[in-house]
């Protein structure tokens, strides 16, 4: 490829990355802003004050912790249920396996609003008060599909003979699984958990329908944006981004040699 072509490709890629990172850069930038009033939207001046007190906004922090707890619980539940399904689907030839895969993919093929409407009408019909329980049920559902399909993909690339080798060396099946397969699957499990976690943590549509009184972070933000935008919002977002970057690195799949 000639030089002009390479330059064009480089510029185009930079443009794409630019689009992706424009809002992120703005957010990080504004976490260092000293806003004059209630809305941290206009650049006034640089300050480190916000970073010294990241948890100053009590209600924001409370919503942040709620989302955190919910996301972890939902991710655990989803990875558990999904992992079991992935195991069954990848290890055994199950009759109707194709249909089950289709069923798993179904929530992915519709916009979230469909799931949200279905869930709300279910909870109203069951007279179930909207709150932490309904949130957990809802979140674990949409995470389930992603977790199951992710783990199935990871398991597909996994060599079953390793486990058989352990068994041949005298380990009972469950122990072989626990000591050979599980550790090798750890990055995959982590990836599935990270995916589920971020889906749940950032969920807005489904939560707005099924949360009732409970305020998750996105729900809190949607309400807060009406009346103020405290710089702690940008600070916390940046923190979340940094932590996500870290976990992303840890969960990356084993490198395939480039061909």
């Amino acid at each position: 490829m000639n030089r002009a072509g390479a330059l064009l490709l480089g510029l185009w890629s930079a443009l794409a990355y630019g689009l992706l990172y424009a809002p992120v850069v703005v957010t990080v930038l504004f976490s260092f802003n000293a806003p004059r009033g209630r809305f941290n939207l206009v650049w006034q001046g640089f300050t480190l004050e916000n970073w010294r007190h990241p948890f100053q906004d009590g209600a924001l922090t409370a919503a942040f912790l709620t989302s955190l707890g919910l996301a972890v619980a939902a991710a655990l539940l989803a990875v558990l249920l999904g992992g079991l399904m992935a195991l069954a689907l990848s290890r055994a030839r199950v009759r109707g396996g194709r249909w089950i895969e289709l069923l798993l993919a179904l929530p992915l093929t519709n916009p979230e609003i469909v799931l949200a409407t279905a869930l709300l009408t279910l909870f109203v019909g069951l007279d179930l008060p909207r709150g932490p329980l309904t949130l957990l049920l809802s979140h674990s559902l949409f995470c389930l599909s992603y977790a199951a399909l992710t783990l199935k993909a990871r398991l597909a690339g996994f060599d079953p003979t390793l486990e058989l080798a352990a068994q041949d060396l005298g380990a009972p099946p469950l122990e072989a699984f626990r000591r050979v397969t599980l550790p090798l699957l750890a990055p995959g499990l982590l990836a599935a958990m990270l995916l589920s976690f971020s889906l749940s943590f950032d969920d807005y549509v489904v939560s707005s329908f099924t949360a009732g009184e409970t305020l998750t972070l996105p729900l809190y933000l949607a309400g807060a944006f009406q009346r103020e935008i405290s710089p702690q919002i940008q600070v916390l977002s940046t923190l979340v981004l940094l932590v996500s970057a870290l976990v992303l690195v840890l969960a990356s799949p084993p490198r395939r040699s480039p061909r």
């Binding site: 919910l70 550790p183 009406q226 009346r227």
Partner: protein, 389 residues
């Protein structure tokens, strides 16, 4: 979640720590919620354990704690010894209604002992029979209520509600952006301001102002009288004259320069003008809409005694003055003006006709009259068509 960086050699240990931390993080908030003291961010999740008074209000509607000057809630707790859980979770009155409706309809008590809602929503709740009469016998300071807000249309017997604050819906604008002083509602439809104008999602405020400009009587609103204003609004939306329909967030757009003029609320603009002096508030000569947010006690409230103490306390002119100075809306309590005038720091507020409307101003202020259930449904459907496209 643990913040420890993973030791390169022991990924397994890290995963174990992660799992433990995750478990703790997952259970923590749930446990705290169960104890009624932790994150959850709203009144319902707390449960109001013991003698705790639970209040739901609009955000930024009270004086908050400042360094060296405790806010009203803190002072109330100190003065009376009553613990208060004050939650600012009334963002949208309709959404709040949708949240409390299932329990009230089922005859179950709410977590809140006191809620603050707009007058017309109060009227709906009172009509549905979901509100408890206030323990006014134990609120001697209720006699401090300003005469203009006594026996309002939404609570003709003054049994179920006491106003929290009152305010005016009018025109907020940036004089640098408009280039001139605005005169009335027609200015919002000026093509020169195309795309830099907004209206409120609060139907009675937006429609009220438009109908007043149309010469209609909004104290007895009729469907027929509203049509020209509905049409005018729809036309403005379709043509792009109106940039957005907003809740409280017209404020960001005014500050960021995305709006030149909009329909807004007097107290908000008063607060904003302190940081952006180019902002003005206009009550059109055709009339401004006067509204009130009122305090209500839902059926089955667990702490009526404490509610009475709160009501009495906030209707004390000195305390009411502190709240008024912070939010800069129209206080429903007599004597607030005199209190503010005495202190040099707050004296200018005493002359603010937006906070203390003089006779000339009062002549221009109208309260939107009641709508029957069927009427309201019709109006809201038409309004939703216009605002939601």
């Amino acid at each position: 979640m643990t913040q420890n960086r993973p030791h390169p050699r022991s990924r397994r240990t890290f995963l174990r720590q992660l799992a433990l931390g995750a478990g703790a993080a997952a259970l923590g908030p749930a446990l705290l919620q169960a104890c009624g003291r932790g994150p959850g961010g709203s009144a319902e999740s707390a449960g109001g354990a013991g003698g705790e008074l639970v209040i739901s209000n609009f955000p930024l509607y009270i004086d908050v704690d400042a360094p060296g000057a405790p806010g009203s809630v803190a002072r109330f707790q100190k003065d009376t010894g009553i613990k208060v859980r004050y939650v600012e979770d009334v963002n949208d009155v309709r959404q709040f209604f949708a949240r409390i409706q299932p329990q009230l309809a089922a005859g179950q008590p709410l977590a809140q002992d006191l809620i603050v809602l707009t007058g017309w929503m109060a009227e709906r709740l009172i009509r549905l029979g979901w509100m408890e009469p206030l323990p006014l016998a134990e609120v001697p300071n209720a006699r401090n209520l300003v005469p203009s807000l006594r026996k309002p249309s939404w609570d003709p017997e003054q049994r179920y509600s006491l106003p929290w604050q009152s305010g005016i819906a009018g025109i907020a604008y940036n004089i640098k952006a408009t280039g001139k002083e605005l005169r009335g509602i027609d200015d919002l439809f000026d093509p020169a301001l195309k795309g830099r104008v907004s209206a409120l999602l609060e139907m009675r405020d937006t429609m009220g102002l438009l109908m007043l400009a149309d010469g209609q009587d909004i104290t007895r609103p009729t469907w027929a009288a509203a049509q020209p204003s509905f049409d005018r609004l729809e036309q403005a939306r379709k043509s792009g004259q109106i940039r957005r329909f907003t809740g409280n967030d017209y404020q960001n757009d005014l500050l960021a320069g995305n709006l030149a003029a909009c329909i807004g609320w007097s107290g908000d603009v008063a607060q904003l003008a302190m940081e952006q002096p180019d902002l003005r508030f206009l009550v059109p000569d055709s009339g401004g809409v006067l509204w009130a947010d009122v305090m209500l006690m839902p059926k089955g409230a667990r702490h009526p005694r404490e509610v009475a103490r709160w009501l009495n306390w906030v209707y004390e002119p000195v305390e009411a003055a502190r709240i008024a100075a912070a939010v800069q809306y129209i206080s429903p309590v007599e004597g607030v003006r005199e209190v503010l005038a005495k202190d040099p720091a707050t004296a200018p507020l005493a002359n603010n006709t937006l906070m203390f409307p003089d006779a000339a101003m009062q002549k221009k202020l109208y309260v939107f009259g009641p709508l029957s259930v069927q009427e309201e449904a019709r109006w809201e459907e038409r309004f939703a068509q216009i605002t939601e496209g």
